[in-house]
Symmetry: C2
Subunit: 318 residues, 2 copies
């Protein structure tokens, strides 16, 4: 079975670990969000790709969900001593090495997809990880601070401002001119199932879908497309998805996210058992819906979620 | 008093510490060798500039003579785990930060001299440190390995091969087209004394003198130019200066180094007391010479060496 997963960072990465356990024989291709990539200290940082790579490759800081285990921060301390910021982005020494290798390879002319493959040669994530695009796409958020509106990089909104300021719009800058990376459309075209994990529907999956050709390829793939709600009981399981949903005018509910994707794209949707009442609303929108436990608290619960997603996909197919 | 010092790495840096102690009121300008600069992992590394900066700024690894004190090596370990080398160049985590800041500033368009000034704003070395040139000069060594000749970067010859292979020539690639960095010729022109510390006469001071205009400016400055022999008892005090002296056809003796510089450039020369017999030979070449203890074993001995150099300069002036 060939499964294609559109993934953001922590939520997507943890779900993928469950999916690998649930379908050990499957050939999994992950299309990773690069809209939250950022240049820091002259280095190219790809937080979502790295979170997937480190999580599946056994190098992740488990409690934190991002960054490396057993991390140290000598480089960051020194940069601060030089007065070089930003200080709000927590890059550790081990993590720096990844960005140094990536930046060196990009500088030598390799596209991001080839660089990602080279990095994965070390981590062996057990999936094929492809960035959504080799072209630069950078998610900016139009925020309002003290009555003044300005666009900031997504990471500044998310990490520095902790999504605590009003966001009026989310714009994946450069997306309209970006091309899917080599292998993206081919993987979608060859998939047996396409899964939207409980990643952020706006700045993770939404950004991947904003790359011209991706949404169309998924809609036309002719295979089940199933998703898992990142919203449980009207609040995001983690992160601040509700804030960016509000910015794009979508209610922070499991049903609203499903109808935001729409029945033209989505065939099946899993909501948490606490949101069982939302099932009829989602089904009325033409999307098959089931209520199952969606808290990824532990490997077995996560694998079970993945099994439920694959079961729903088979129901849709039949 | 304005003193200009042409400096390489460890020897030059340690001498400078003594000079600062010997002449606390002096305005010292250091023209630093950049011929051993190297690009590693996509980062610009300037070993000699950093050794001077760290030594005078209190950040040096004292025993080692180069690199940072209390250093860790997480980044290097990770790069090795990615299979990315070279592994023979020992960059520590704290040191990496310096190269990251430098590379970022160079990438933003600042010349190396401006970058060096910015880095020194943190380290406050108590001297004005200027790279010999903002242009790229890279010392290559023509080596012979298993009967085959090839050019390697100086660092590869020095660090990886430990100068243990035959060297036929030392070439400061790019020097003939390089311009002295802003401030270099002005500092030489305004100097009261010019000092060649016990740095490597070929790959440190020799490289600085290879930048068109520098040798001429020193010869025409009309002020005492005094040097200290890096060779004691026919062997280099540290490093492998004898190897590169042989490559340029100069004997590894205190006298031969003086006559290699020549009386057109050098007015005074200090040799160690064990080389007192060389004094007449040097003086016969038109260079005033004194034999004094030249082992930099401790701050006081080093300050005394600097005092002897300044005294010799005054003798020459009179």
């Amino acid at each position: 079975m060939r499964i294609v997963v559109l993934a953001g960072g922590i939520g997507g990465a943890r779900f993928l670990r469950g999916l690998k356990a649930a379908a050990p024989e499957a050939e999994i291709t992950v299309i990773g969000n690069t809209g939250d990539d950022i240049h820091l200290f002259g280095l190219k940082v790809c937080p979502d790709l790295d979170t997937v790579m480190y999580t599946l490759g056994g190098g992740i800081h488990e409690e934190q969900g991002w960054g490396r285990a057993e991390e140290t921060f000598a480089v960051k301390e020194e940069l601060a001593a030089y007065g070089v910021g930003p200080e709000w982005f927590g890059l550790g020494d081990r993590d720096f090495a990844t960005h140094i290798v990536r930046t060196q390879m990009l500088g030598a002319g390799y596209p991001l997809s080839a660089v990602t493959e080279a990095l994965c040669a070390r981590w062996k994530p057990g999936v094929r990880l492809i960035p959504m695009s080799d072209d630069r796409v950078e998610t900016h958020v139009l925020v309002e601070i003290d009555g003044e509106r300005k666009a900031v990089h997504f990471q500044e909104y998310w990490v520095r401002l902790r999504a605590a300021v009003t966001a009026h719009a989310v714009v994946p800058v450069g997306a309209e001119a970006a091309k899917p990376a080599p292998g993206v459309l081919e993987a979608i075209g060859a998939a047996d199932v396409i899964v939207f994990p409980p990643s952020n529907p706006v700045v993770s999956i939404g950004t991947i879908l904003a790359v011209p050709g991706v949404r169309e390829a998924i809609a036309e793939a002719g295979v089940p497309v199933v998703g898992l709600s990142p919203i449980i009981g009207d609040a995001p399981v983690r992160g601040m998805a509700d804030k960016v949903l509000a910015a794009v005018g979508v209610e922070s509910t499991a049903a609203a996210v499903a109808t935001h994707y729409g029945s033209g794209l989505l065939d099946g949707w899993l909501v948490d058992t606490v949101d069982a009442a939302a099932v009829p609303e989602v089904e009325a929108a033409g999307i098959r819906c089931r209520a199952v436990p969606l808290l990824m608290d532990g490997p077995e619960a996560t694998a079970q979620m993945a099994r439920e997603a694959l079961t729903l996909a088979e129901e849709v197919r039949a």
